[in-house]
């Protein structure tokens, strides 16, 4: 039986990308050693295991590193394919959908959301808000009346997006917006995902993320 020293996760407590991996590991009930990285002073191990990007998360399984969160989630599903639940559908077309939407979160949601607290000036912020809501509505379109993003089961696309729900409170405060009101289906989906222990026990409280962003802004002299 694999011991927890078989699986090490290099991560940062509030990273949405790291949270994806933690949720996937929790879904499969995999024991692992969590190592918090100081992103201002990265460990030699991190630099050795991810020389190309020098970023977290990095999953180290039996000494071998896997990088890039969506890739790690798929790796977890495949390396522990004998453990349920499956994190991807079995149908190839639905699997393609899962990959497409996980990638969409990376390409669109992350960038649009970051802009809310990174832009200065009211005009730019309004543009950023409009962009973000547009992106979230596209996700709502995909969700439709389904319980989860792709097919009927919780999986890769949900795992890719759910950590960003931690950002909603911060986005609402800084952006002076109300994401849950503008995107009620998405809000319902968040609540549904939170009913899963792997999600509710893993995600940090949204207020903690808000404190973190405020700290970051203070340091940058905002």
């Amino acid at each position: 039986m694999a011991g927890s020293d078989d699986v090490i996760l290099l991560d940062f407590w509030v990273s949405a990308f790291g949270l994806r991996v933690r949720i996937a590991l929790a879904e499969k009930g995999i024991h692992y050693e969590y190592r918090e990285e100081n992103l201002q002073n990265k460990s030699p191990l991190l630099l050795e295991m991810n020389p190309v990007h020098k970023k977290i998360p990095v999953l180290i399984h039996q000494g071998k590193p896997v990088c890039e969160s969506n890739i790690i989630v798929q790796y977890i599903d495949e390396a522990w394919h004998d453990k349920s639940p499956s994190l991807l559908p079995s149908d190839p077309y639905l699997r393609a959908q899962a990959r497409f939407w996980a990638d969409f979160v990376d390409k669109k949601v992350y960038e649009a959301a970051k802009k809310i607290w990174m832009t200065e000036g009211e005009e730019d912020r309004q543009v950023a808000k409009k962009e973000l809501i547009e992106v979230l509505k596209v996700l709502e379109g995909q969700l439709g009346e389904k319980p989860y993003m792709v097919g009927e089961s919780f999986g890769l696309a949900d795992i890719a997006m759910i950590p960003f729900s931690v950002w909603f409170h911060t986005l609402n405060e800084i952006g002076k917006m109300n994401i849950e009101r503008e995107c009620p289906k998405l809000a319902a989906w968040v609540n549904r995902c939170m009913e899963r222990e792997s999600v509710s026990k893993t995600l940090p409280h949204p207020h903690k993320f808000y404190e973190f962003v405020l700290e970051m802004q203070k340091k940058k002299g905002h």
């Binding site: 071998k64 495949e78 390396a79 393609a96 990959r99």
Partner: protein, 217 residues
């Protein structure tokens, strides 16, 4: 049962070419639907409403967008020559390099092209490409996939073929042989693979297009 397969695209796109190579590698019959990207068809917008881009693979009416997603789909649906490794760890490595190519290499190369080979942009492109050069060195094999091409090689089609066309069109140097001996050797081997050879557009067409689009007045 009807097995209808259409690929929406343009022959000058390195992303569309990835799908063409994969389909040819597996010997799959399909219909190429050529798009006019300045006047996108209703079908393209229907099948890819999120990005409205090519390539889009439509299999029995089901659309799949994003070239890397398409490659994985093709590999999962059709047997024959494998595109991804079987082993979970090797698969993760292949996906990592494919993503690196799209996230880092392609944008950096594109920037170098539209800046007409501006020094800083070229340096950044070469920095990204150096990672690929090192990977080939470390692997010590003919292709990123080992003895045979795989997902990573196919993703890198733009490096093997498009970069050369752009270099000729603009009179710039992005991938000098002395700095990138492995990538140069890999490119020569890659474009001579049967499935790749029969999938690439004529080089002079690309050169003409890039002269027109990016060339100095």
């Amino acid at each position: 049962m009807a097995n209808e397969l259409k690929l929406y695209g343009v022959t000058r796109s390195p992303f569309v070419c990835r799908a063409v190579i994969a389909l040819n590698l597996k010997g799959i019959k399909y219909e190429l639907v050529v798009e006019d990207l300045s006047n996108k068809s209703a079908d393209l917008i229907k099948y890819n409403p999120v990005y409205k881009k090519v390539p889009v693979l439509v299999h029995n009416g089901n659309p799949i967008s994003e070239s890397l997603v398409i490659l994985e789909y093709i590999d999962e649906v059709w047997n024959g020559v494998p595109i991804l490794p079987q082993d979970a760890y090797e698969k993760a490595q292949a996906r990592f390099w494919a993503k690196f190519m799209d996230d880092k290499c392609f944008p950096a190369v594109f920037k170098a092209v539209i800046s007409h080979g501006e020094e800083q942009a070229v340096a950044e492109a070469q920095e990204a490409l150096q990672f690929l050069e090192n990977e080939l060195k470390v692997k010590g094999s003919k292709f990123f996939g080992g003895d045979n091409i795989n997902l990573v090689d196919i993703t890198a089609t733009f490096v093997a073929f498009w970069i050369g066309a752009v270099e000729e069109a603009l009179g710039i140097e992005l991938l000098p042989k002395d700095k990138f001996p492995k990538l140069t050797e890999w490119s020569d081997n890659y474009v001579n693979c049967q499935a790749v050879k029969e999938s690439l557009p004529p080089r002079e067409n690309l050169v003409a297009i890039y002269k027109k689009r990016f060339g100095k007045a």
